[in-house]
């Protein structure tokens, strides 16, 4: 089993039981890799359950900076007896399976084509710690210590992270450090080390931070000036609310009075959650809600009201596996179509699609300006992978000269001079009328906001022509949005290929790896990332400039492909699809496999190499 040495390129997977304290140990591992200057992408693969079921923590380490998942597990730390058989089988040939040999492994579990690395983790823990709960907890730390020697993870870095974590409970530092040493020393005395896959200090993580998308979204809301959050718990969006709450408590208390410059309400359901945030926006504050899955379905009636009564609103959708209750702890991009056209009647909505936590922060802060400017619902389309996993991402920045853009709002003086105010009159030709916030003027500007058809003055109407005029104006407004939402990102200065790929959100990591791999092979494909809906002219130009365009996305029905065809009037025969919908983040291998398979049918111009692992469409 001699193999060439690979540095800073591996996938490590931890197989644990949830509720046993393993996740914090595993996070220390990722953070230490990051602190060594090596790009790292951890993924939590967890059950919809609180205690006792298998959970995995998969860490991709890539000196090339690839942050998507990849096929092939190099090192498996298998702590969970229940899933052990499957876990052993998942290791790539030549890889390593690390397990607790306090109890001997059954013979038929042993694989000859991988390294079986037994470490008496529980025994070490029992010998050194008294309470059973501590023995359980420190077992996790012991395997991190062992791993440090096995793959050259800098133990001093690990120790300093632990010291920081227990800054407020310094008593816990020495026993944790001891556990690390126990694991490390045992390996030094008993095993050959390091593995063929190993780490080396690098400098590729400067200016980067490690944060989950939901924390970033919550922080973006604080910076964007949100004051009212109403929400209902649902995985994977819950931590958006928790993040906003934590940051608001820290940075939004009035220093003099101790009072809150924010209000958070846990609503009775998602309908109420939407209604409250919308009511706050209507009354001139910045409100938002965050939800997932079924929550989006429940909000549909209100989404239509906000659209038609033209109330600013920010709605975070952390997409998860559907349909119905679906896979609450798995990821998908399957709310694209339902959100684009949410609610009955003719409706269209604005979506922002972040691809990393930095964009979660920036787009969320920006969403409030957009909502106020466009007086409609802004969807922030995140997903479970982005929201609940920690990602390496650009550090956040903020321009202190930035003023909140509240859009067209008339104050008392401005109303004073107006003879013929009409809430929905399109004075500027951009489809956007002027709002008046309740309480502004004693005799001017008041109107009854409503979901019934109304004329430009906001008065109830059943006049068909007036109604058509108003919903046509909403399309003018939607077109205006094209100039305000983030533009798509192009990955080449001039088009080089007959073929293009389009992707968005968390598919970006794997797609960028694909672009790189093709380049290394001497091939080229043009690429574009969507950041928002409505689609701008650039999107249409990109598609028109290519013979075939592959839309890569994580849902069954090729939702974004449909949306592109519908909204841009594209000939659908040139629009191909690359999909992934098993709930695990898409991999570069899977994209390449599907791409090559389809290219053959298109007389593919891409050089296809044989040595690259063929990926299957399923990823577990």
């Amino acid at each position: 089993m001699s193999e060439q040495i690979r540095v800073n390129d591996m996938v490590v997977r931890f197989a644990n039981v949830n509720g046993t304290g393993s996740s914090s140990a595993n996070e220390v591992f990722s953070k230490a890799v990051f602190r060594m200057g090596i790009p790292v992408a951890p993924k939590n693969i967890f059950p919809s359950n609180i205690q006792g079921l298998p959970t995995w923590y998969e860490v991709r380490i890539s000196g090339k900076g690839y942050l998507g998942r990849r096929k092939g597990i190099d090192v498996m730390v298998g702590i969970n007896p229940e899933s052990m058989k499957k876990d052993i089988a998942a290791v790539r040939p030549g890889g390593y399976f690390i397990y607790d040999n306090t109890k001997q492994l059954h013979d038929d579990m042993v694989r000859k084509d991988i390294h079986m690395v037994g470490i008496p983790m529980m025994q070490l823990s029992i010998e050194n710690y008294q309470a059973p709960r501590l023995q359980q907890l420190f077992k996790n730390i012991i395997y991190i210590g062992a791993l440090s020697v096995l793959i050259d993870l800098d133990l001093d870095v690990v120790k300093s992270i632990i010291s920081e974590q227990f800054e407020k409970k310094p008593k816990l530092i020495p026993p944790n450090h001891k556990a690390l040493d126990l694991g490390a020393n045992w390996v030094r005395q008993n095993l050959v080390y390091p593995f063929n896959v190993r780490l080396k200090h690098s400098n590729l993580t400067d200016d980067k931070i490690m944060i989950d998308g939901n924390a970033a979204t919550g922080l973006g809301a604080v910076y964007g000036g949100a004051t009212v959050l109403s929400w209902y718990p649902i995985t994977p969006s819950t931590s958006v609310a928790k993040s906003f709450e934590a940051f608001a408590k820290k940075y939004r208390k009035d220093p003099e009075t101790g009072k809150n410059n924010f209000a958070i309400i846990q609503a009775e359901d998602e309908l109420a959650a939407f209604g409250m945030a919308m009511g706050a926006n209507w009354n001139g504050a910045r409100g938002f809600t965050a939800t997932s899955g079924a929550g989006i379905s429940l909000m549909n009636e209100f989404i239509g009201l906000a659209y038609f009564a033209e109330v600013p609103m920010v709605l975070v959708d952390v997409q998860r596996g559907g349909p119905s209750t679906g896979m609450p702890t798995r990821t998908q991009q399957s709310d694209i179509l339902p959100c684009a056209y949410a609610s009955h009647g003719d409706t269209k909505h604005i979506m922002l699609i972040p691809a990393n936590p930095t964009e979660c922060f920036e787009f969320m802060a920006e969403a409030f300006d957009l909502a106020d400017q466009l007086q409609t619902v802004i969807f922030l389309m995140s997903d479970l992978d982005l929201g609940m996993n920690i990602h390496m991402t650009e550090a956040f920045s903020w321009d202190d000269s930035k003023k909140y853009n509240k859009g067209k709002v008339l104050n008392k003086q401005e109303l004073e001079g107006l003879e013929d105010y009409g809430r929905f009159k399109d004075v500027d030709g951009d489809g956007i009328g002027y709002r008046v916030i309740p309480g502004t003027h004693p005799s001017k500007g008041a109107y009854l906001a409503r979901g019934t058809s109304h004329d430009p003055y906001g008065r109830y109407t059943e006049d068909g022509e007036v109604h058509a005029g108003e919903i046509n104006r909403l399309i003018r407004k939607f077109n205006t949005a094209k100039y305000l939402v983030p533009k798509p990102e192009l990955y080449q200065e001039t088009f080089q290929s007959d073929y293009g790929i389009i992707f968005y959100g968390t598919t970006t990591y794997a797609a960028m790896e694909v672009i790189d791999i093709l380049k290394e092979e001497g091939g080229q494909i043009d690429a574009m990332r969507l950041k928002a809906f409505p689609f701008q002219d650039e999107v249409k130009e990109f598609i028109e400039a290519h013979k075939t365009v592959y839309v890569i996305e994580q849902n069954r029905d090729a939702q974004c492909r449909s949306l592109l065809i519908l909204e841009l009037g594209i000939d659908q025969s040139k629009m191909a699809s690359i999909l992934n919908y098993d709930g695990m983040p898409i991999t570069a291998d899977s994209i390449l496999f599907q791409l090559r398979l389809q290219m053959e049918g298109f007389n593919g111009q891409l050089p296809s190499t044989n040595n690259h692992n063929n990926a299957s469409v399923s990823h577990h």
Partner: protein
Amino acid sequence: MSFIKPIFRHPTQTKNKAGFYKSDYEGRISTLCAGCGHDSINASIVAACYEMNIEPHKVVKLSGIGCSSKAPAYYLNNSHGFNTVHGRMPSVATGANMANRELTYLGVSGDGDSASIGIGQFIHVNRRNLNMVYIMMNNGCYGLTKGQDSATADIGSLSKSGSRNEFSPIDMVSMALESGATFIARSFSGDKKQLVPLIKAAMSHPGFAFIDVISPCVTFNNNKGSTKAYDFIREHIEVTSEFDFVPIREEISVEYEEGTQKSVTLHDGSQIQLSKLYSDWDPSDRNSAMEKLQQSKANGDILTGLLYIDPGSQDLHSTLNTSTLPLNQLTEEDLCPGSATLEKINTEYR
């Protein structure tokens, strides 16, 4: 259909202390059926706001969907309003109130809107003690969808077509008592003398003020055999107290017989003067109110008046400890932690 009402001021009309004529509190011409109870309630709302000397633009009108929920178009033309969706007015009111604690929030709803599709939001807005007035125009039926029974219809009540309601009614006053409202009253659309001071007191109350107003639907539920018909109500009404509301800075001139008098001082100094008709009932005691309600229900009577009030009510803003300055008036300076703080936050994630 909606008309602009010609502004007509009776020569004898006088300005209130806020400098407004009564007509300044009116709305568009009503499109409800002639004789509809809801229109009488609208008139009482206009009178109460005028008498309270409240500036019309400091009131926010809210409603759900139904004939009753159309009402905000027919009063307070100079107030902003939101005619929301069916059964969901409380959530919109909650958010609006969070944005600006300084305005007065006046919601109207129907028995369908509140007791069926909206019962979840109704109960939760009660328990949060949101500072608002919530008037339920209760006609025992769905007026706007042509007369189906509502959940407040009594067992045995006959619809216009003669069919009998077989399901137990939901008593929204008991519901409010159970779920934490701090001001609970019932009245009758035809009894302006009682309703106007109740609305005024409700507007002064710092918390959730619920008024169940029996409001006959002349088109679909005013027939013989209906328990929400004008005749039936007039025969079965039972009054808890003579009632007057004295806003702060107004002289207290009402006189009550010794022994039955009870006066409640609200947070702003206004007073509610009650002349209790029952010596065994205490309006500031939830249990006592509950008992009195049960008794009259058993007797087949409709108990009206102020049924319960918690003079020490703390509204949702107190619970959430929100800033005294309305949230919608805060600026970047109050809200954005800035780049230096962000740099610190960045280091926490390295």
